[in-house]
């Protein structure tokens, strides 16, 4: 029946044409849908942004070694002779100065967040020249590098942005020690930008670490190939270390915030139920309001299917309009918004919310679901509307 589409289209247009009579209720439904979608997108963008920040940090050319059983740098300990043994292992890249091995220390210091004025943890990383050279995307954006053997440090761009008092030239007190900021570095937006860097020897002595470290980074001879290194660690009883590429390490840390996405879906689902209750009410009211029109159209020969579709379509249009507004709001307010959260090592990771087409798709799916479910039962009622209603003696 070729006219079925025409029927549905004209019924839908008439329904939308009558929206003005139910303006406030309809707007309430649009708003509810907008809020639910915006909240979902905010959570998803947060999880996405965190994952991107973590993923970007890792290089597949670099292996990171920690003590067996330590999932993060913070609870790992590595001794000097272990560092020497790694330098002699297979699979490690070398240059004229010897093996490219960077023993690193990682301690936690306090900073005051600009946004909330509260204290939060910042990692202070001790490393040497090899360690800095290994981070090929690192760039000094301001000032100069710290001088080994002094209380100088360079700050990540993210730290400068999110915390008070890390501008160049400022002196910062951590515990008994006074540090001086001499430079600002960028690593292209990834997790290292949430760190402070200083000379490893200085940190070892200030924090009484003797000759111990927490992690080793080495440049691999062949990209992604950790097998030779892994084999030599297994053969050597003094090396109770775990090895993985830096990329794998950060990817697994980035996944930690996947629960935010799940949480976002749960929160939005609960809120969607609330929105749904309101939307159902709006749509039942719509059917009651249009009863005489529906019945008249049925008397003229319009099918009950067209009455059903028209009502569903009205609900979808309202919910999806809300969804679009909600997405737009989420985009305007959240995309690129900088924030920081607890990263893998109980320190602050500075990252940006990231909106992407697949997030909008998820928002659209949620809006369509709200529209369909809230439209379905009222549409059923519209389809079952007795035609004799058209003859009722009430204008």
């Amino acid at each position: 029946m070729g006219s079925l589409i025409a029927q549905i289209v004209s019924v839908t247009l008439m329904n939308l044409g009558s929206l003005r009579r139910r303006l406030w209720m309809s707007l309430a439904m649009v708003l509810a849908s907008a809020v639910v979608v915006a909240i979902l997108l905010a959570f998803l963008a947060m999880a996405k942004g965190f994952e991107e920040t973590m993923r970007g940090a890792g290089s597949s050319q670099i292996a990171i070694l920690m003590r067996e059983g330590s999932s993060t740098e913070l609870n790992s300990v590595i001794l000097q002779d272990q560092v020497n043994l790694i330098g002699e292992s297979a699979g490690v890249a070398r240059d004229a100065n010897g093996p490219l091995v960077s023993p690193e220390l990682y301690v936690i210091v306090d900073g005051i967040k600009k946004s909330s004025g509260t204290e939060a943890n910042i990692p202070l990383r001790g490393l040497n020249k090899t360690g800095m050279d290994m981070r090929t995307n690192m760039q000094l954006v301001e000032g100069r590098m710290f001088t080994p053997g002094t209380n100088e440090m360079v700050v990540g761009a993210g730290v400068l942005r999110e915390f008070n008092g890390f501008e160049i030239g400022k002196e910062v007190r951590f515990g008994k020690n006074l540090w001086k900021v001499v430079g600002v570095f960028s690593t292209g937006g990834n997790i290292f930008e949430s760190e402070l860097w200083a000379d490893i020897k200085t940190i070892q002595s200030h924090y009484n670490r003797g000759n111990s470290y927490q992690s080793i980074r080495t440049k691999l001879q062949n990209d992604s190939d950790i097998k030779p290194l892994q084999d030599s660690i297994e053969r050597e009883p003094r090396l109770n270390l775990e090895v993985q590429t830096e990329q794998e390490y950060f990817a697994s840390q980035g996944k930690q915030l996947q629960y935010i996405a799940t949480f976002g879906w749960i929160i939005s689902a609960v809120m969607a139920l609330g929105a749904l209750a309101g939307a159902l009410n709006t749509m039942y009211t719509s059917v009651a309001d249009r009863a005489k029109e529906i019945a008249t159209l049925r008397a003229l020969g319009f099918s009950n299917f067209s009455a059903f579709c028209g009502t569903i379509a009205e609900a979808m249009v309202l919910a999806v309009t809300g969804g679009l507004l909600g997405s737009l709001a989420a985009f305007v307010f959240f995309d690129g918004l900088n924030t920081s959260t607890l990263g893998g090592s109980f320190t602050q990771v500075v990252f940006s919310f990231e909106m992407s087409p697949d997030l909008f798709l998820q928002g659209a799916i949620l809006a369509l679901a709200i529209g369909f479910v809230s439209g379905f039962f009222p549409a059923w009622r519209a389809a079952r509307m007795p035609v004799i209603v058209a003859f009722r003696h009430a204008a």
Binding site: S3, Q7, G17, L300, F302, V387, I388, F391
Partner: protein, 231 residues
């Protein structure tokens, strides 16, 4: 059944169940309507005039008996088949016009044509013809809120005839109008019957309105009482 018979009710009964009570509106009603007839149905309030009209229009189902239209038994059709049957054969005119308030006159009249396969141009032509017939060509773009009751009812008449149905059913078409306007509408119905061969069944309270019909049936206590006057 003679060639001329359009509608026939055979032993039709209708009752409503209200709670435990069964209200019988008709019991064994018989009636024949010929092609080209113009029948007025009168009777006291609650006598079942609207119910009868609804059964003729396939909008309400009889509880028993048979309803025949042009050789088809319509009381046993499925809801979908009945809906299509209505679209093809019946034009309705309501007491309160039942125009779509969000559409202008032209769009209202076009509605029954949305159920046909006619092209847009063809639809427009038919709408123009129907509006011209009711004398509202100049109001094509007006919304119902901008028209008087009489004008709205004329739009409704145009809507009822635009798809050229065999039968026009009117429930108190002038019930909401003043005398002069009512007479205009009734003259229009008469013209449709006389010059365009439309068969019309009209429910009315108003004896003056009934005079425009070819004959009047009086419904009382579930039966046609013998006051049939043939014009």
């Amino acid at each position: 059944m003679s060639e001329d018979v359009l509608f026939q009710l055979k032993n039709v009964s209708k009752n409503f169940v209200k709670g435990k009570e069964k209200i019988s509106i008709f019991d064994d009603l018989n009636m024949t309507i010929d092609r080209g007839d113009f029948v007025a149905i009168m009777g006291p309030s609650g006598s079942g005039k609207t119910t009868l009209l609804n059964m003729l229009g396939g909008v309400d189902q009889p509880s028993g008996g048979e309803v025949w239209f042009d050789g088809t038994r319509i009381d046993s059709l499925s809801e979908g088949a009945l809906t299509r049957w209505r679209a093809e054969n019946i034009g309705f005119i309501f007491q309160f016009y039942n125009l779509m308030p969000m559409l202008n006159a032209q769009r209202n009249v076009e509605l029954p044509l949305m159920l046909t396969k006619l092209s847009k141009a063809q639809r427009r032509k038919n709408v123009e013809t129907a509006l011209a017939l009711v004398g509202l060509s100049d109001r094509a773009k007006h919304m119902s809120s901008e028209m008087s009751g009489g004008q709205q009812q004329r739009v409704a008449i145009a809507r009822a005839i635009v798809s050229d149905p065999k039968l026009i059913l009117c429930d108190e078409p002038t019930g909401d109008l003043d005398r002069a306007t009512a007479d205009e509408i009734l003259e229009m119905l008469q013209l449709l019957n006389r010059d365009h061969g439309k068969t019309i069944v009209m429910v009315t309270h108003d004896p003056a309105a009934a005079k425009y019909a070819k004959r009047t049936l009086h419904l009382d206590k579930g039966q046609f009482v013998q006051r049939e006057i043939v014009a």
